[in-house]
């Protein structure tokens, strides 16, 4: 994708045709003399790309493109509603939000035996291994249960025949009342965060439909990852909810870029402005995505809170590509057409 943008050299490329476009060349003539060699080259690339874009009839497809994210949002909402009807909350909560104990073991133990024996003793127990991908070595083994820490610790000590101390284990316990309180507060924070973000967007654009388009895209950026997380049965911790808050702030920057460029009314046609924003925006999102992905493919031995934050950001950024360039772009295109913004 990146190399396609870098097509080099002049010649009878399709770009020529746009160069001859009357309106465009008029606009360019005034600035042409001032441009250095580099800018001319960049300038030329724009033409090629715009033509690629032209071959794909955006004017015809944009309304249909809006249907894809819309369907995804509806499916996501449906699946979240399903989770809600089963569990009474919008997602599966880990012990930091539902109350219970999480014990992280560190060292060479017989985890297979531990897992099978603990399963017999505790009904509500889950296990998670954490290994370092480069060395393949297991760094930690996480046991979660709604049980109290002391009996759980005792059971593990009995099975492994080792005393758990600060060299080989970390223990986290959250009382049910406090966890429930945390859950409610963080959900409240999530709503407040969303409202504050919406206010900022309204103040920035001061027009209803473009603002709503950005806010809807942000909403979809939260809903889609949540549905994916529910689908895989991943439990969300307090840090996970914090990541969703960050997603609210993080995901709208490409939407702001798109809306600002689309509404600017100058510098090429509406389609070329949207495409220009698309180029910049996808590169932004892909860079951010490439920044969070190493946590799953290169260095994986990270604290659970850290991994969860990065995982949710990765899902959110992926959803953001869909929601900015299909959802938001379609709405803003439709709005501009209607308002006669060319």
């Amino acid at each position: 994708m990146i190399s396609a943008f870098q097509a080099d050299g002049p010649g009878p490329t399709p770009g020529r045709r746009i160069y001859n476009n009357k309106k465009m060349s008029e606009e360019n003539n005034s600035s042409e003399e001032k441009m250095g060699a580099h800018e001319q080259k960049v300038h030329h690339h724009e033409k090629i790309k715009m033509n690629l874009f032209k071959n794909f009839n955006y004017d015809k497809w944009y309304k249909i493109m809006f249907i894809i994210p819309l369907v995804l949002v509806i499916i996501s909402l449906f699946s979240i509603a399903l989770t809600f009807s089963h569990t009474g909350s919008f997602f599966l909560k880990d012990v930091s939000l539902s109350g219970g104990t999480s014990i992280t073991l560190h060292g060479d133990f017989d985890y297979v035996k531990l897992e099978s024996e603990l399963k017999n003793q505790y009904e509500d127990i889950s296990f998670k291994g954490l290994s370092d991908i480069s060395s393949g070595k297991q760094i930690a083994f996480i046991i979660e249960s709604s049980a109290q820490p002391d009996p759980l610790k005792k059971s593990i000590e009995d099975i492994l025949n080792t005393k758990l101390d600060s060299d080989n284990s970390s223990i986290e316990f959250s009382g049910p009342a406090l966890s429930d309180n945390f859950y409610k507060q963080l959900m409240f924070a999530l709503i407040i965060s969303f409202i504050l973000m919406s206010i900022v967007i309204f103040v920035m654009f001061r027009t209803f439909i473009p603002s709503i388009a950005v806010i809807f895209a942000a909403f979809a950026d939260i809903i889609m990852p949540l549905a994916v997380i529910n689908y895989f049965g991943i439990k969300i911790s307090t840090a996970g909810i914090a990541a969703f808050l960050m997603l609210i702030g993080y995901s709208v920057d490409t939407d702001i870029l798109l809306t600002t460029r689309a509404l600017r009314k100058r510098g090429g046609t509406l389609n070329s402005r949207i495409f220009g924003a698309f180029k910049t925006g996808t590169f932004m999102t892909l860079t951010a995505l490439f920044a969070v992905l190493p946590a799953f493919f290169i260095v994986t031995g990270l604290p659970d809170s850290f991994r969860q934050i990065f995982f949710i950001l990765a899902l959110g950024l992926s959803a953001d590509i869909i929601n900015t360039w299909l959802t938001n772009a379609s709405i803003i295109k439709w709005y501009c057409e209607k308002k006669g913004i060319k």
């Binding site: 724009e46 080989n168 406090l178 965060s193 920057d253 600002t260």
Partner: protein
């Protein structure tokens, strides 16, 4: 090359951040700052290319040399008993110990090997301790009661999840404490932890969105069991004869407690127990206040004297009072002491308290007895907490695992840095632009860390995730600036960059708006994540982004 004030500003802030992060002796810190600024001056004012490069090279070498060679030597005194002889001679927590009897101490292992080669000893020996605050000479046969740790090369502090330790969230049970009641609780708790001999404690009140108040206790190098017993229990100590209270823990009744003097405090015997394993008994003396002593006299004067116990068994010639002195801790009987005949009606002030600890091995039993003794002593000195407590959250983190995590996070940060740099280069194919992006990204991370070091923020894993995410938004903004500046419009460059800033400022405010609620929700346990993210984007918008805009202007012109 003329540099704009924005770039100057960035370098000043960078220099200050570096100074705030590095734990160098003050004079070298200033020197590093000055040298960093001189790099900029060289860039800005020295016209001749050759001279400039020579100057830059030597300044850079000087900075690196200072950082590597002037790091503080020695070990840091992290705690010392305020009853001990080393304290009374003037040694204090926070001093840097550099040598013992002329032998250099570089690590805590050096310290322990030195001390174990000198102690225990029967005869008094001369101990010359060199610290950053001067030399101390002791003549002693007692092992110095202090603990040391390596000096960190930086002022950065990691959170409990990375450095290891325990954390508890506590509140009074069955009541809604007021602000002042919380303050009382925190004062007694801090006092108790300090008396117990834990130095690295952080006790504070936290409240959440709904107005609940909690006490948050964070302690490095302690297990949850110890923390639970020390701060989770009220620690109500009562000594009763029959139903009458003779004295309770705390300074009103207990004038002093013998702790470090081996003649009146220590483990007296270790014996194999009937159930296998060992039991060790400890004894220590306490001195009652006159008030409590008189009470003792009044109560005992009414008691009869027996020569046999309640089962009619003879005391073997000795005679004791009809009631025992029962010691209760949190309403549980811990010990019963027989009161000898001679104490009847007398205003006795010295009482020996004893107890035991058990374990599978002799060493375990000894340690258990030692810990129990220390806890009991602590409770007798500090008194009980004003309320019955409820532990809402109790976490411990393994320092071993934390070390591994920290290492991996640093490694990850490096890889992210590398990947983003490569992507930027692949996209723009310009070394200057790539370098400007890398420099900006690096600056943002460094300045955020600098502020964290300055305000002594404990960086936990979510905080570091916040720093990396902040760097991510930073790169996004830089991409906007670059793309706007090369866009094919007729406006001048200044206008284009101005427009880029509209987008950037918008994105900045949405991040702030989104993260702000985290400062209060969930009792602020995720405040670090919000803080570093907000710091990162604020540094971006106020310091690095304007400078980056100028750099791009320079490169594009």
């Amino acid at each position: 090359m003329k540099l704009s004030w924005r770039i100057w500003f960035l370098v000043f802030v960078l220099a200050f951040s570096a100074m705030s992060i590095l734990n160098l002796p003050a004079i070298y810190t200033v020197l590093v700052g000055l040298l960093t600024i001189s790099i900029l001056a060289t860039l800005s004012f020295v016209k001749d290319k050759f001279t400039r490069n020579i100057l830059l090279f030597f300044t850079a070498v000087a900075i690196i040399a200072i950082i590597f060679f002037t790091a503080q030597q020695g070990v840091l005194i992290t705690s010392l008993d305020s009853n001990s002889f080393v304290f009374s001679e003037g040694l204090r927590k926070g001093m840097i110990l550099t040598s013992i009897n002329g032998n250099q101490i570089k690590t805590s292992e050096d310290y322990s090997s030195q001390i174990s080669s000198l102690f225990p000893t029967e005869e008094k020996i001369k101990l010359t301790v060199q610290t950053d605050k001067g030399e101390f000479i002791f003549l002693t046969n007692e092992t110095p009661q202090l603990s040391v740790s390596a000096i960190s090369k930086t002022n950065l502090k990691t959170g409990l999840d990375l450095s290891g330790g325990a954390r508890a969230m506590i509140r009074p049970a069955n009541m809604t404490p007021s602000q002042s009641e919380m303050a009382d609780l925190i004062a007694v708790t801090s006092n108790r932890l300090n008396t117990f001999g834990i130095s690295d404690v952080n006790v504070r009140a936290v409240s959440d969105l709904t107005g609940n108040n909690f006490m948050l206790v964070e302690v490095a190098g302690i297990t949850t069991d110890d923390l639970k017993e020390l701060v989770g229990q009220q620690g109500k100590f009562e000594a009763k004869i029959g139903k009458e209270i003779v004295f309770i823990g705390g300074e009103r009744d207990v004038a002093s407690v013998c702790r470090t003097d081996a003649t009146c405090s220590g483990i007296r015997e270790c014996l194999p127990s009937s159930s296998g394993g060992y039991v060790c008994r400890f004894t220590f003396s306490i001195y009652l206040s006159e008030l409590a002593a008189e009470k003792h006299a009044n109560i005992t004067s009414n008691l009869s004297v027996n020569s046999t116990d309640e089962n009619g068994k003879s005391f073997g010639g000795e005679r004791f009072l009809s009631e025992k002195l029962d010691l209760f801790l949190d309403d549980k009987l811990v010990d019963s002491l027989l009161i000898s005949e001679g104490l009847k009606g007398s205003a006795t002030t010295q009482i020996a308290i004893s107890g035991s600890g058990s374990g599978a091995t002799k060493e375990e039993a000894y340690n258990s007895a030692q810990t129990s003794m220390k806890k009991l002593q602590t409770i007798l000195i500090t008194g009980s907490l004003p309320y019955k407590l409820e532990i809402l959250k109790l976490d411990s983190a393994s320092p071993v695992l934390g070390k591994e995590f920290t290492k991996n996070i640093i490694y990850l940060g490096f890889i992210v840095f590398l990947i983003v740099s490569i992507l930027i280069f692949l996209k723009y194919r310009k070394i200057k632009i790539t370098l400007a992006v890398i420099l900006t990204m690096f600056s943002e991370a460094l300045i955020t860390l600098g502020i964290a070091a300055l305000i002594k923020w404990n960086l936990d894993a979510p905080s570091i995730a916040g720093i990396i995410a902040g760097m991510g938004t930073g790169v996004n903004d830089q991409i906007v600036i670059i793309d706007e500046s090369v866009s094919e419009e007729s406006e001048n460059l200044k206008e284009k960059i101005k427009r880029a800033f509209f987008i950037i400022v918008g994105a900045f405010f949405t991040i702030i708006a989104a993260m702000l609620p985290l400062f209060w929700a969930g009792a602020g346990l995720l405040r670090g994540f919000a803080l570093t993210t907000i710091l990162g984007v604020s540094v971006g918008i106020l310091v690095t982004r304007p400078a980056f805009g100028d750099m791009i202007k320079k490169i594009q012109e």
